[in-house]
Assembly symmetry: C2
Homo-oligomer: 322 residues x 2
């Protein structure tokens, strides 16, 4: 099995690479070859069981991926993207990286005749927006209120059409907000959702910029990676007629997250979180839907986290192990 990952140097790309190499198989087939692509040179994992190919490459360069696609990877994880804030700040950059590069990838698959190749793209809750029902499902209209969400939604449509035409075998996963991310805070509006757990558990201060009654729709990094791997195993017919799936996240309020922090880390951990409302962040985060009916995803075999306790306990265990 030859797997290609774009955006392999990113947060999910690195973790997916590690998990793929640990498991050594995809959909029951032995992993023999792994091609890692990113604008930032992916750090070659120390592994001698598979043929590794790490390339620093800008996938927006016309035909950038063509020769690699000619080698007929059997699964492609398309994770390269510029995130929400960057796509909003620079429309052209977002269109080029998030949309045009995905279209080129689809055209490359078409040209190489990769009808059987499972192409998995990470989409986002940002495809939703505006005036939404209380609880969403896979039949809720995509009315994005950001350029990032617009570009992801356009990619979803295109991947579905190319799949329907039998040019590739696509699958789109809409990812919940990923919590608890290891590492440092970043510029994402959702960064606080990891910070308010991670920093206090590590003895550091954190700021909560939103009201505690705000609900989030979250999933742990481990469950997201499980979902990416599971997506490689589903037959196309199971996904048709529409291959976009919202993953079964967990609806949790910031207050409930902080309560788990207190239970796990004690009062002193909780005391490290200060509350400094930031209306700009609140406006963005509050516009994300927090309740989804995800029976379809579950029927397809995607699993969410059991509860927020489990998410935090797993984060601590992984941090200790690494």
């Amino acid at each position: 099995m030859h797997v290609l990952i774009t955006g392999a140097a990113g947060f999910l790309g690195q973790r997916l690479t590690r998990t793929l190499l640990e498991r050594g198989e995809v959909n029951g087939k032995v992993l023999t070859r792994l091609t890692l692509i990113d604008q930032v040179a992916p750090v070659p994992p120390s592994d001698d069981t598979v043929r590794l190919d790490c390339r620093a490459m800008d996938i927006t360069r016309p035909g950038a991926l063509d020769s690699l696609l000619g080698e007929r990877p059997e699964a492609i994880y398309h994770l390269a993207a510029v995130v929400s804030a960057a796509a909003e700040a620079d429309l052209d950059l977002g269109m080029t990286v998030n949309f045009d590069a995905t279209r080129s990838l689809l055209e490359g698959c078409r040209a190489a005749g990769l009808a059987e190749t499972r192409l998995i793209m990470a989409s986002s809750v940002a495809v939703y927006g505006g005036e939404l029902p209380d609880t969403l499902d896979d039949m809720t209209a995509l009315t994005p209120q950001s350029s990032y969400g617009t570009q992801k939604a356009m990619c979803e449509l295109l991947i579905n059409d190319y799949s329907r035409r039998g040019l590739v075998d696509g699958c789109v996963l809409r990812l919940p907000t990923i919590v608890v991310r290891p590492g440092k805070p970043n510029a994402a509006a959702s960064s606080f959702a990891s910070s308010i757990l991670r920093e206090p558990l590590n003895g550091e201060a954190a700021v909560c910029p939103v009201p505690t009654d705000l609900d989030l729709f979250v999933m742990s990094p481990g469950r997201v990676i499980d979902a990416l791997l599971h997506a490689a195993t589903l037959p196309g017919e199971a996904l048709a007629p529409y291959r976009s799936v919202m993953l079964p996240g967990l609806t949790v309020s910031v207050a409930a997250m902080l309560e788990v922090l207190r239970e796990v880390g004690g009062e002193e951990a909780l005391a490290r979180v200060s509350h400094e409302p930031d209306p700009r962040i609140e406006a963005i985060v509050a516009s994300w839907p927090a309740r989804f009916e995800t029976r379809r995803a579950e029927r397809l075999g995607f699993a969410g986290d059991r509860d927020f306790h489990e998410i935090v306990r797993t984060f601590i265990a992984e941090q200790t192990a690494s």
Copy 2:
């Protein structure tokens, strides 16, 4: 008021041109200038009240529209498109005409600073497909099952994003099946819906290829033109946060259509319709949704036909007049 129409030589473009010239105003402003663009040279209407500019032009040519956009039209009707069957037969043609040309038009508006220009695009029920609820509304997901529907849905997303960013003032109308079209049958799967009325009323034979209990979602050409004109009058805020609107069509069964034919044209007219099931046409037409909750469109002031009688009577009156 300077109005630009792409696809002006087409069915709707010609009729829109005629109606615009008859009314002489758009949104309370005197029509002073009309620019007609089509691949097929638009026939210049005989009118000396406005400045007319008819151009044969392929809008897929890069920058084709740029100099015209530089003249700052205040309303743009973007009607140029290749229809469903053509887009399905040739993916590249559909992507280029239906999607890329719309994107270029948006980029042209952005470059010319046409933030205040109302851009009106005709979308279609073909943006819907797959496993749909019984009754759809503007919050039903677009899960198209054709490349034409995919391309229209992608244009909708892009027009919404460019409008949200204040680069243009967009509005997308999803048109029902237009019935009764004057003229000749064409290659569209929906062609029979006009034929089974038009031909018998004109003393000619027609074939009905679908079961008579099939429901259609229809609108008369006159009401569609009214809607296109009304779309030029709505403030952007009334359309936000999402500027795509399904027009209030009429749900009518083929049996009910034939019953109106009998009432208006008599038994001899009805007898001119023969029933020859065509599973290929039935499959396409039956996949189109026939029931919509269109309160939003009505609140915005879009009006549908009263009943199918009115549609047929208007068709006969217009045919007699022309």
